[in-house]
Amino acid sequence: MSIMKINTVTKQEIKLFLKKKLEDEKNKVFVYSPYSLSKEEINQIFEIIPFLKVRPVENIIDRQILAGIKVQYGSKILDLSLNARLKNLASRLHENN
C-alpha cells in the first residue's frame, strides 16, 4: 500500500475551484414552487425584489409547498408557501391550548 501525496499546487487549485463553486451556489437565487414556473412568472417575482434580478436563478419543484413560492438567497428565505402558513397556524393554536 503506497501513500499518495497530492501535489501542493494541485491541492491549492482544487481548493480554489471548490471555493468558487461554493460562492456561485451562495450567489444563486433558488425559487421553490409546486410546478415549474415560466420565465415571465419568475420575472414578475423579481419586479418586486429588484435586488435579485441580476443573480442566476434556479427553479426547484417541491410539491410539499402546496401553493405559493419560496425565494431563497444565501441563507435568507422568503417563505410565502401555503404549507408554511398552515404550520404557523397549527403551532399558534397548539400553544394557545
Binding site: S75, I77, L78, D79, L80, L89, R92
Partner: protein, 501 residues
Amino acid sequence: MKIIDKHIKEIEKKIRDAKKIPEVEEVGTVHEVKDGVAILAGLYNVAYGEIIEFDTGISGFVIDLSEESVGVVVLGDFEKIKAGDKAKSSGKQLEISVSTEILGRVIDPLGRPLDNKHAYKKDKSYPLEKIAPGVVYRIQVNKPIQTGIKSIDALIPIGRGQRELIIGDRGTGKTTLVVDTIINQKKEGVICIYCVIGQKKSKIATLIELLKKHRALDYTVVVSATASDPVALQYLAPYAACAIGEYFLDQGKDVLVIYDDLTKHAWAYRQISLILRRPAGREAYPGDIFYLHSRLLERACRLADKYGGGSLTALPIVETLEGDVSAYIPTNIISITDGQIFLETDLFNAGLRPAINVGLSVSRVGSSAQTKAMKQVSARLKLDLAQYRELAAFSQFGSELDEETRKLLNRGAKVTQILKQDKHKPYSLAEEVSVIWAAINGYLDDLNLSQVDEFEKKFLNELTSKGKSFLEKINKNKNLEKKDEDELKKLVERTVKAFKP
C-alpha cells in the same frame, strides 16, 4: 354549543391577528449534533446569542460563529434533532418575559412553568445578558439584609446590594442557611429569587414544600435547572434569575438572588466549551470561566435614588471538596464577592450549627450595613469571641489556669453556645439584639453550658409575652437607647430569677 362558539370566535380572532406581512427569515441546516450542541450550515447573518428555532419546535441559541458553520446550544432534548433538520433564526437575543405574576411560581430559565399551572402573564421582556450598571449609578451599601441568623447578622452582616459567598463542603448547611434567609424576608419587603443549578429534583421539591409551609413562596420565584435538565439550561439559569431580579430592581424594589450553586454552573459551562472544542485551561475549564461568574455577580448593586433606588443582593453558593477553598472556582468567586461565609464540616459535626467559622468568614461591607442596635451589641461580642479563640488552645488545662483566663474561656463558651440556632427558626432583629445583649453582659456566665439553650427559650418566651411592646419598639427604631437597655435588664433579670429558684 355556546362553548364551541366561543372557541371558534377565539380561533378566528387569532387568525385575524396573525401578521399578514411575510418576513424574510434566516435559515440553516443541521450538519452535526453533539451532546447538547448542534452545528449548522447557513445562518450567515446571525449574531452571537441569538435564538434559533428548529423546525421540530425546539429552540437554541448561537454560541459559536465560525467561517463556515454556526454552533448552537440546544435548549431542549437534543436527541430529537437529526442531521438535515432545518432551523431558522428568530432575530431576538436571549430574553425572559417577566411580570409581577411571576412571584410564587417555579419556572425554567426560559420562563416556562414547572409547577403545573398556566403560563404567567407577560409584562416586559428582560435580556439574560446585560452589562452591569456603571459606577455612576451606584451608592454605598448601608441597609442590612436581615438573615434572622444571629451569628451572621451580628458578626458577618450582609447589606442590600452586596455579594456574599456561602462556601462549604456538602452537608454543612449552605442551602439551609439561604432558605432561612428567604423565610425571614416575609416582613422585610424583599423579593427573593432562588436559582437552582444542577441540583436534585427531590431537593427542590422539599425546598418548595418548606417555603410553602412558611408562606414564603408568595414573594419568591424559583428558577430551576436540575441535574437532568439540558446543560444549556443549567448554563442559562443564573442569568435568567438575575434578569428577573433586574425587573424588580428597576421598579425600585429590593431583591435577593441566590445561586445554588455556582460550582455546578461552572461544570455545565465547561461541558459546553469542551464540546465546542474551545481550548481547555486549568482543570479543563475554558479561559473565560472567571468572566462567566464576574459578569453575573457584577449585576448585583445598590442603585442611587436618582435611578430608582432599588438593590439586588447576590448570595452565590459554592461547594468545596474536602474544605479546599484554594481550588480554582472557589478562589475565582472569592475574589469577585464582597466577603464569604465559611461553613465547616468539623464545626457541623461538633454540634455548632450554623457551622460558621467566624474567624475565617468576613463581610467586606461590615458594620456599615448594620442597624445601630446591632452595632452596639456586636462590638463586644466580637471582642469576647476573639479573646476566646486566642485562648481556645488553653481550655484543655481546665483548673490549672488563672481566674482571668477562666473567665474569658467561660464567657467565650457561653457566647458560642448562644450563637447556635435551630434551622428554619429565624429571629427578628429585636430578639437577636436582646439575646446577644444578655450574653455579653454576663447573665449566662453563672449557668452551666447545658442550661444555656433552656435559658434562651425561656427568655424568648418572656420577651414575646411580657416584652411585646419592647420588641416592637426595637424592631421599629432599630436603636438601643439607655431606657431600652434598662427595660431589657429588667426582662433578663426576671428570666434569671425564674430560672434559678
